[in-house]
Structure formats: structure tokens, C-alpha cells
Amino acid sequence: MSEVANIYDNGPISPIAKIRENMSVWSGGRWIHHVVDFIEPLPRSSPMVVEMVTATGNTNIAANGLIARALVGILLLAENEFIHLRWEPLDDVEGVLWEQSSQGRFVTRSVQARVSRFTHVRDPYLATTTFCVLGMNRDMNLGVQNPLPVIQVIARFVFWGYRYLLVPIENNAAPPRTVWVPAEGKQVRS
């Protein structure tokens, strides 16, 4: 069994690089090359749960309504901090992932997929929910859709995964061996 996984491997979430290996991260519209300096887990636990109704100053989500995308405070990072996470809702709501508030994730030209209570049914390890965030002020934003025709008063999401500390490579020189990881979306090149 390999000691590191590929980013979307369909098994329990595992680190995607080892300490002292290289990691190239897609962020800010370019690949930024780093050396991994430190890795530690972020286990699924109560501090890793965000409740989006109260976090956004609402009292409920309307029937078939939505909460507009907002910052998730527990996932704010320092510069050169990198997180690699999976997530799911604890309540019967759908999460909509955005990177840096305006860039939809899990999108094609015609659809933006969401993460719901059904995602784990055919994807038990939630590999299809994997996303990454690099550094300060390049945060993810979370929107919430209520799929039910009744008001819901709570919309909790839990996150878990790994935290890395990265050291940028001087002059952003591309290393000969590296792991390529997206930390934001990418559009089709025109």
C-alpha cells in the first residue's frame, strides 16, 4: 500500500505528499511550487463543524431556499498554510462550494454539483467532496441550499482532512518531481 494517496483516491482521506516532498498548488491562476515542511491531521470533531444558519445571521432557511455563500471562519488560514479536506452536511441540506467567493467549484459549463446527505450513499469515503485551500485571503466560501419544501432551522457541515505547512520554492522554479494539487477552480481555456 502506498504511503501517500492521489488527491481524489476513493478511500479514506490520506496525505497526498510526504514531508520534504514537493507540492505544486494551483492558486491565483498559476501553479505555485512548494516544499512540504509539515503535515498533521485535522480529525473530524466538534470544532470542525460549522452551523451556517446562525453563522450567517439568519434564523432559518426558507423552504427550497438558500443561504448565500459566506466565509467559513474555521477554515481561515495563515500564509503558506494549506488544508486538504473532505466534508458533508450533518443536516438535510446541500452545500455549494466556492473558492474565493466568486469561483464555483465542482462545476462544468452547465451545472454546479453540491454535497448532500446522499453523497456518501454511492461515495462512502466522500472522495468526490475533496477540496483544498492555500494560504491567507484565498478562502473557500460555502453556500447552503434547502432541498426540502419546509423551513429548516439548522444547517451543519463537518470538515476533516490534513493541514500542511508549505515553503515556497525560490523563484517559483518547477521541481522535477512534484504533486500537482488544485486549490481553486479552473476554467476552460478560450
Binding site: G11, F118, V121, P147, P149
Partner: protein
């Protein structure tokens, strides 16, 4: 690693309306169904202390268009006894959104009538929802 597929790949939950006490007018709403899902009942609990047996009729009404349609045989709820029906005793009746529901708001529902019509029969369901 290959994991065994789940035979019934849905999510289990209580009915959306929670514990419902029936009203004298009948046609009480127990659960509303989103348009992307179908639902089956996996457990029924009912309490009756009206002094005599009451039959409950589970069905669907879809916001009144059409009128209430009974989908289960009458279930007899005995007075002052814990009445419950477990998954192995409940037929696999699928409740879905009526395709005519567009004007009525794209919802399906599970509703209950009592026979004779009476108030204060407490009912709680466990349902399994399929879809997305």
C-alpha cells in the same frame, strides 16, 4: 478496496412534520417530499387514548389535487397500547412527487385520515428518502 453496495441507498429520517396529532377534519400532513426524491415509510408509531380503537389511513393528497388517495390498508390503532409497525411489516409503497404538481408547488406528501374521523391520534413516522 471494494465496499459492498447498500441495498437501499437512501437516507433515513423522521417525517418532516415530526409528531403529528390528528385533527377532526382529517387529511393531516405527515411528510412533504422534495421534487428530487421518492420516499417509503419504514416505521410507524401511533398512540391513541380516545377510549376506543381508531383506524388510520395513510395516503397522499398532494396539496388537494387530487383528493386524498389512500395507499395503505387501514391500520388499527388500539386504545392505550403502544402501536407500531416495523419495516418488515410495511409494504414497500413509494411516495413520489405528483407529476401534476407543478401548479401546486412541486411537492408530494404523506397524509393520514382517521376512521372514524377523530382528533388526538399521535403519529410519528420513520421514512427513507431516495434520490438527491
Amino acid at each position: 478496496m471494494v465496499l459492498p453496495l447498500v441495498n437501499t441507498p437512501g437516507i433515513r429520517k423522521a417525517n418532516n412534520q415530526g409528531l403529528v396529532a390528528t385533527l377532526i377534519g382529517g387529511n393531516d400532513l405527515l411528510h412533504t417530499i422534495p421534487v428530487n426524491r421518492t420516499v417509503r415509510i419504514t416505521k410507524i408509531q401511533a398512540w391513541n387514548d380516545t377510549g376506543g380503537p381508531v383506524d388510520i389511513q395513510l395516503g397522499t393528497n398532494d396539496n388537494g389535487v387530487p383528493a386524498f388517495v389512500q395507499l395503505f390498508p387501514d391500520l388499527r390503532v388500539l386504545n392505550n397500547i403502544d402501536n407500531q409497525w416495523l419495516e418488515t411489516e410495511i409494504p414497500w409503497v413509494i411516495f413520489a412527487v405528483d407529476t401534476r404538481a407543478g401548479a401546486a408547488g412541486l411537492t408530494g406528501d404523506i397524509r393520514v385520515n382517521t376512521n372514524p374521523l377523530t382528533a388526538n391520534i399521535d403519529i410519528l413516522l420513520e421514512v427513507e428518502e431516495y434520490g438527491a
